[in-house]
Subunit: 221 residues, 3 copies
């Protein structure tokens, strides 16, 4: 296992933890029991990786072969549930704000890491010269886990309601793909993650608004 493999593995574990936290938080907010919270944590954490592997042709997906990702996701989900159950949520005043902050950060970390891990997987499978494929694969991997989480939990997908969500992932994938050819994949991955994190945090802090069509007559159904 080379140094680069180790870095990719560590990034994957951090992304798995972050997405598991975000999935567990959504489950807790939806008043799911501890099993539901774990299921949502695991789906969010391994969903992006499973999509990535099917799309680039690693079948069965790596998250199905190696138990470490699912194990980490279950442990993290239980931990988040335990903290929510026994301590933090007693102080209900700051609850909403704390929840929103944790969700934003964890989801952004997961989004950034899985985006660059998706780009890296495309490169490893021999598609290093197809810029578009790497960007698309990276974006699908990045947004996939969170999208599965939101669809399964029945909440409006983050990708539509949050500021500049898919865009941050695309920017990270583009940066990672272009940098990889000049600086090597390690630097490219870190730059990609930081770019996604930066865009998401800035967009959220300054509440960047984008034009939308106001429908004058509300059309029901």
């Amino acid at each position: 296992m080379s140094v680069q493999d180790n870095i990719v593995f560590i990034l994957e574990i951090i992304g798995t933890v972050a997405f598991a936290v975000s999935g567990a938080l959504v489950g807790i907010r939806k008043s799911m029991d501890i099993f539901g919270v774990c299921v949502l944590g695991v789906v969010t954490a391994v969903g992006g990786g499973a999509i990535r592997d099917v799309v680039v042709g690693i079948i069965p997906p790596n998250v199905f072969r190696d138990p470490v990702y699912a194990t980490v996701a279950v442990l993290v989900s239980c931990l988040v549930f335990g903290v929510a159950y026994f301590r933090s949520f007693r102080s209900s005043g700051r609850l909403g704000k704390l929840y929103d902050g944790a969700m934003l950060l964890m989801d952004a970390v997961g989004l950034g890491i899985f985006t660059v891990v998706g780009v890296n997987a495309g490169i490893q499978q021999g598609h290093g010269d197809n810029t578009f494929l790497l960007i698309f694969t990276g974006t699908v991997t990045g947004v996939g886990g969170g999208l599965l989480r939101d669809i399964m939990a029945g909440v409006p997908p983050y990708i539509f309601v949050r500021h500049i969500y898919a865009c941050a992932s695309i920017a990270g994938a583009v940066a990672c793909t272009l940098l990889y050819r000049t600086t090597g994949i390690t630097t490219a991955m870190f730059a990609g993650v930081l770019l996604v994190l930066g865009i998401r945090c800035l967009a959220s802090h300054y509440r960047w608004n984008l034009p939308r069509v106001r429908m004058e007559e509300q059309v029901t159904k």
Copy 2:
């Protein structure tokens, strides 16, 4: 076709019938017309198998090659629709209870069978020595059809709202995987199905409750 292949095939057909009934029932409750009911029946019945095949690398999925599964699912869905249309639902008093009982049983049978069939598919594709892969593949196959059904119909997924749902599937997959190495796959599959059925029925009958976090302030959006 060996005896074991026959047993797997018969199990698959029973699972297909059970999941088709559960899909048709959800469609009827959502007031879908006969085509919608059939679509939901087919998706529930073949969805788990399609996911199983993509995940273990049988492409195109077997349910796409062999018309028997989709045909059975359509016939069963039409039959359920016909019964609901012409007879049972006139006696509306016991409707809710009958519906809940039928859903519970059919969904549990489908869950149990597709779980062990998923484990078996992993073994057949040469992953017999990877315990984790077999358990994960079995669970994904088991819960996949019902999850697609609930997401498409826009109802809260069974996997989150029912007692110990994913857990029953995981237990069945573990039992099937471990037994297969000592007793052979046939015994292991039957034991797995019975275990899933038993856990689901007990959990439902005794309304096993699991801890969940009560959110004091209801956060909207």
Copy 3:
């Protein structure tokens, strides 16, 4: 690139445009911002093709390799958003009707084209003699993009609420599969598209109604 490849490519682009319009319209109706509208346009337009490719074994999917489909979808989505933002939607009186008409037509064109393109992909991958596989693949490809659109946007899937939706796709796939063996694939594809379009328009115009079970007691949850 043969004449037939060119025809398939042109059909795919028309289908991509049609589905991108339908996705963008759903996004606008759900008051998404311009990025959300683009995401929904792209998912609807490339979703069917991605499902088709995974199912028939073209991995990575062609829409991930060739940027033209996603680029067209983004441009079309932005154009639809621009028109909605600056002009048409000011005259709000006819809005609902115009929206419904555009959705019906665009969705029907996409449904028809992706159905026959799915059949053709199955044939190209060497499954030309498996009638059932071609029909199933065609139908899944046809309804896949619209289904992803509706699930992600959180609206009741077209496939359940519109008249004879899946049925039109199945009819088109059957016609295309059977004709391909006598008239060749080009004629078969055009016939399939026209059949789907015809069935959808007739069903919508005459509001063909199908039996459904009226539930006397409304069961909540």
